[in-house]
């Protein structure tokens, strides 16, 4: 007979399901379909940025952890820093210069996450806070999205991407601005950006969406990227990593508002399907807003939280100054989370019935 455990352990004596480390990793893996689509349409820059951001995130986290005299190795292993880095990488233009990534990720990890107390204590979504800092500070670099490769004049290789990110020019000496000029000589913008500028020029929605940057139901390329994140998100749902409430509420809310707007002013509004399958909609719904730490935790709260984000995304896209509004929508709603949680507490057993 071997030894009997003398360790005092409180019940329960066992557990189930994924651990936090596994949860974080699973979210990273679930990004793969989206990353694949993004890489296919926007080139190797996506992968280069992902690697760069993850390295910066881990380094920044390690530095702060050692300053805070916290266990470095064990904490890095939880995968949360890696995930934050990855999410920022997927949000910024693939050929954004390296210092953009470094600043954004460092801000997210150091200020938004660690200075608030590390994992579990951040009030705001670190990835989106980092992204917003970049968007406000470097608006030009942050909106320099390349057109999808299929309508680009130049083919760019993996090394072109590396070179462009770190030096500003491809191996052949093209700058990002030059790369953005499409076959027809017009500078290409993202579908959402393009729509906004064209509406301001007095074109109607149907005229605008005739452009090749719009695909069958979303933006060309963007619809596939969104589909990729939708698939990844559904996998997360199936794995039990996220719950359906927040993604559902975001999509439903955004769709509803788009539909209302489109049915009132069809000439001035983005068609609802393009709304859902352009920009960062699916990415936001399944990967950003579902960050549990900064999201609402009650069932009703999650629905409200998602609905507010969906509404804000719509409003910012429709009436705001920025082509996409996911980051602002998420951060603004993060602010409301304590309030939402407080007022959506479920009725505890024995407190419903009155005798």
């Amino acid at each position: 007979m071997k030894s009997i455990s003398k360790l005092f352990v409180s019940s329960p004596h066992t557990r189930t399901g994924l651990t936090t480390n596994q949860v974080m990793r699973t979210v990273c893996y679930a990004c793969i379909p989206g990353i694949a689509a993004q890489t296919y349409f926007f080139g190797w820059g996506v992968i280069v940025q992902a690697l760069l951001c993850i390295i910066v995130a881990l380094t920044a986290e390690a530095i702060i952890l050692s300053l805070r005299e916290k266990p470095v190795r064990a904490t890095l292993a939880d995968g949360s820093a890696m995930l934050t880095g990855l999410l920022i990488a997927l949000s910024i233009p693939p050929l954004a210069p390296w210092w953009i990534s470094v600043i954004g990720v460092s801000f997210a990890i150091i200020i938004v996450k660690q200075l608030y107390g590390g994992l579990g204590f951040n009030l705001f979504n670190p990835a989106m806070a980092g992204y917003v800092v970049l968007l406000i500070s470097f608006p030009v670099a942050m909106t320099n999205w390349l057109p999808v490769q299929q309508v680009m004049t130049y083919d760019i290789s993996f090394l072109d991407c590396v070179s462009s990110i770190f030096t500003g020019f491809t191996l052949d000496g093209y700058s990002v601005t030059q790369l953005r000029i499409a076959v027809d000589g017009i500078t290409m913008a993202t579908p959402l950006d393009h729509f906004k500028t064209q509406i301001d020029l007095g074109l109607t929605a149907s005229e605008i969406t005739a452009s090749p940057i719009y695909g069958d139901y979303g933006g060309t390329g963007w619809e596939w990227v969104n589909l990729g994140y939708l698939i990844g998100g559904l996998l997360l749902l199936k794995q039990g990593v996220i719950r359906w409430h927040i993604p559902f509420a975001i999509i439903a809310s955004l769709f509803t508002f788009s539909l209302i707007s489109y049915s009132i002013t069809p000439d001035l509004s983005l068609p609802p399907m393009i709304s859902l399958f352009s920009g960062a909609t699916m990415f936001a719904a399944f990967f950003i807003a579902t960050d549990p730490i900064s999201a609402s935790t009650t069932i009703r709260g999650r629905l409200i939280y998602g609905a507010i984000i969906g509404a804000l995304i719509f409003m910012i896209r429709e009436w705001g100054g920025y082509p996409d509004g996911v980051a602002f929508a998420v951060l603004l709603t993060n602010l409301a989370v304590p309030l939402i949680d407080y007022y959506t507490k479920p009725a505890v057993y024995g407190h419903k019935a009155k005798v």
Binding site: M1, K2, S3, I4, S5, K6, L7, F8, V9, S10, S11, P12, H13, T14, R15, T16, G17, L18, T19, T20, N21, Q22, V23, A74, D78, S80, G118, L119, G120, F121, G240, R243, P292, I293, A295, T297, T298, I299, D341, K345, P346, A347, V348, Y349, G350, H351, K352, A353, K354, V355
Partner: protein
């Protein structure tokens, strides 16, 4: 009335409700439920703690060295919530001493150690064969004297529940047994369905419910069959098969599943006309009433992957766990965990000399592979899996925050008291946080804090009462001072000649002095003499006054002291306002100061003159 009628009708309709949350852990019940209930051979020693139930321990009836018989009472129930314990077998009482208790803390408790004589001679007790015609009160007393306690886990004295003060509509028999691994109730239902039914009939006779519902989880088809067969002729007993889910067997949860009603917070089921009894308890009631057998044995599941012969056993209460493990063949792995109860709510056994008690339903020796233990606790990521799984709709993630911050007010606002400690939140937590442990600690802290508050409130009340009394005494004293001072003053005034007398005496003395030869001053200044006389008179007056005051003060003190016992009645005296007293005091002080000044002036003058 209408709603209560519809309660029974609703229950009769067979409708089931769902509880929020819950989990489906691997059941692993087939390990132990495939064999009949075996009887474990007699142990050489039995360790019978005198307290095995919720409430007070009974009064000892036996001494060390005494011979006892099987079923002989060892203690006698005392006033209040109390149950006796009985000798599990015949033998000699070796010792009555603190011994490791069947409690999570293992804290030693007074235990009667019996050395078995291996004869198991039975102590004769009287059954109540004609229970159908017996008074509920005498049955209640009998059940108490037989030491019957709830065998579902809490070991609440059964006689309290069989004697409800409220009108009971519904009796629920709990055969859910939702904890993984445990099959004690399962096998009892399979093999003793008729005895259980007899127990239920006794309960019906005592509690007089309109309807009895026996609730069994659908993972026990054999038990369901057996019970259904046993009650098929009884139309007031219904068998309800409920879906398997943990923790459906919790008292409040099962009530919700069967009736759709909630027991209001801080109430008991009887408040809504429901009483619940466990399957094992029904069997024990039958044995106590019909066979006249005290509660000295129960079915215990000995199971787990480290047990080579997992099974259910009739175990005499007081049997040390080590004997069970030996009998069933424990093959321990490194750091083998031993658990009393199930994996969700049981506690770990740190000493195998711990005895089986009334609430022991399972001894579990799991393998680390099949029942992985917790890893290192990580930060809460607010994933809210816990709140989704909570069967009472708490928000464990918020409560963790407040528990760590020791914010007891917030914890109460988030209804910590309603936590049933089922362990579901910890079970699903990806960060492996022992949430239940946090809540248990917080509950203890809050209880402690409340007790401390009661204590400090009492102390404060005592202090304030004392302050009030002292102040009242003081006021009474001051008033008396004042009164007697006034009296003295009046007396002095009435006797006003005293001053004049003194003055006259002084004048006489002066006159005498003058006449004895000091001619010059007189002739020089007659006015001065006049003044001098006046000063002298003033001094005399002041002195007299001082004297009078001193006198009155002493008398006042004396009188107030002597009347201290009467202070209570001196409330009328208090009517005199403190202000008045203060004013009087100031006046007296001013008078004193004036007198002093006057005196000083006079002295100075005298001095000047004598110079």
């Amino acid at each position: 009335m209408h709603s209560e009628l519809s309660l029974i009708e609703q229950v009769k309709s067979g409708k089931l409700w769902d509880i929020p949350g819950g989990i489906h852990p691997p059941e692993r019940k087939s390990l132990s439920n495939s064999t009949k209930i075996d009887i474990i051979p007699l142990s050489p020693f039995y360790y019978v703690p005198i307290k095995q139930h919720i409430g007070n321990e009974g009064k000892l009836l036996v001494k060390v060295g005494e011979q006892v018989l099987t079923g002989q009472p060892l203690t006698d129930a005392i006033e209040g919530l109390s149950l006796p314990v009985h000798a599990p077998t015949s033998g000699v009482i070796k010792d009555i001493t603190p011994h490791v208790s069947a409690h999570p803390s293992g804290k030693p408790e007074i235990t009667i150690v019996i050395e078995s004589d291996h004869k198991d001679t039975v102590f004769t007790t009287k059954p109540i064969k004609n229970w159908q015609t017996s008074e509920a009160a005498s049955l209640t007393k009998h059940i108490q004297s037989m030491g019957v306690a709830g065998l579902g886990g809490a070991a609440f004295p059964t006689y309290v529940k069989t004697n409800p003060t409220k009108d009971i509509k519904l009796l629920i028999i709990n055969g859910v047994e939702c904890e993984p691994y445990i099959t004690a109730d399962d096998v009892l239902m399979r093999y003793f369905a008729n005895e259980i039914t007899q127990g239920i009939n006794i309960l019906q006779h005592m509690v007089q419910p309109e309807l009895v519902v026996i609730a069994i989880e659908d993972n026990k088809p054999e038990a369901i069959e057996a019970i259904k067969l046993a009650v098929k002729d009884q139309d007031t007993i219904e068998v309800r098969v409920i879906p398997t889910k943990y923790p459906s067997g919790g008292e409040k949860q099962l009530i919700e599943i069967v009736t759709g009603q909630e027991v209001p917070s801080k109430s008991i089921p009887a408040d809504i006309g429901i009483v619940m009894q466990n399957i094992g308890t029904c069997f024990a009631i039958k044995e106590a009433v019909i066979d006249g057998k005290a509660l000295i044995h129960r079915v215990v599941t000995v199971t787990g992957e480290s047990i080579s012969r997992p099974q259910n056993l009739w175990v005499k209460l007081g049997t040390p766990i080590s004997d069970l493990l030996t009998h069933c063949g424990l093959v321990a792995e490194q750091d083998q965990r031993l658990i009393m109860g199930g994996p969700m709510m049981g506690f770990n056994i740190m000493d195998t000399m711990m005895p089986v008690v009334k609430s022991t339903n399972c001894i579990l020796a799991p393998s680390e592979y099949n029942l992985p233990s917790f890893g290192v606790e990580q930060a809460c990521i607010r994933c809210s899996l816990c709140s989704d799984a909570c069967p009472v709709n708490l928000l464990p993630q918020q409560m963790l925050w407040y528990s760590k911050a020791k914010d007891h007010e917030k914890l109460e606002e988030y209804n910590l008291a309603d936590c049933i400690e089922c362990g579901v939140c910890s079970y699903v937590c990806p960060s492996q946080i022992p949430l239940v442990q946090y809540y248990r600690s917080s509950k203890v802290e809050i209880k402690q804090e409340k007790e401390d508050k009661i204590k400090s409130d009492k102390a404060k009340e005592r202090f304030e009462t004392r302050q009030l009394r002292l102040e009242r005494d003081k006021q009474a004293r001051l008033l008396k001072h004042k009164e007697s001072a006034d009296k003295r003053k009046k007396a002095l005034e009435k006797d006003g000649n005293a001053k004049d007398k003194i003055a006259a005496a002084l004048a006489r003395a002066k006159a005498k002095k003058a006449s004895t030869g000091e001619t010059a001053p007189i002739s020089a200044d007659a006015q001065t003499t006049n003044t001098q006389d006046k000063v002298a008179a003033a001094i005399a007056r002041a002195k007299a006054k001082k004297q009078a005051q001193a006198d009155s003060e002493t008398t006042a003190t004396v009188s107030s002291e002597s009347q201290d016992s009467e202070v209570g009645s001196a409330e009328a005296v208090e009517a005199k306002s403190a202000e008045q007293i203060k004013k009087d005091k100031i006046a007296a002080t001013v008078a004193r100061a004036k007198a002093k000044k006057l005196k000083q002036a006079a002295e100075n003058k005298e001095q000047g003159e004598s110079n």
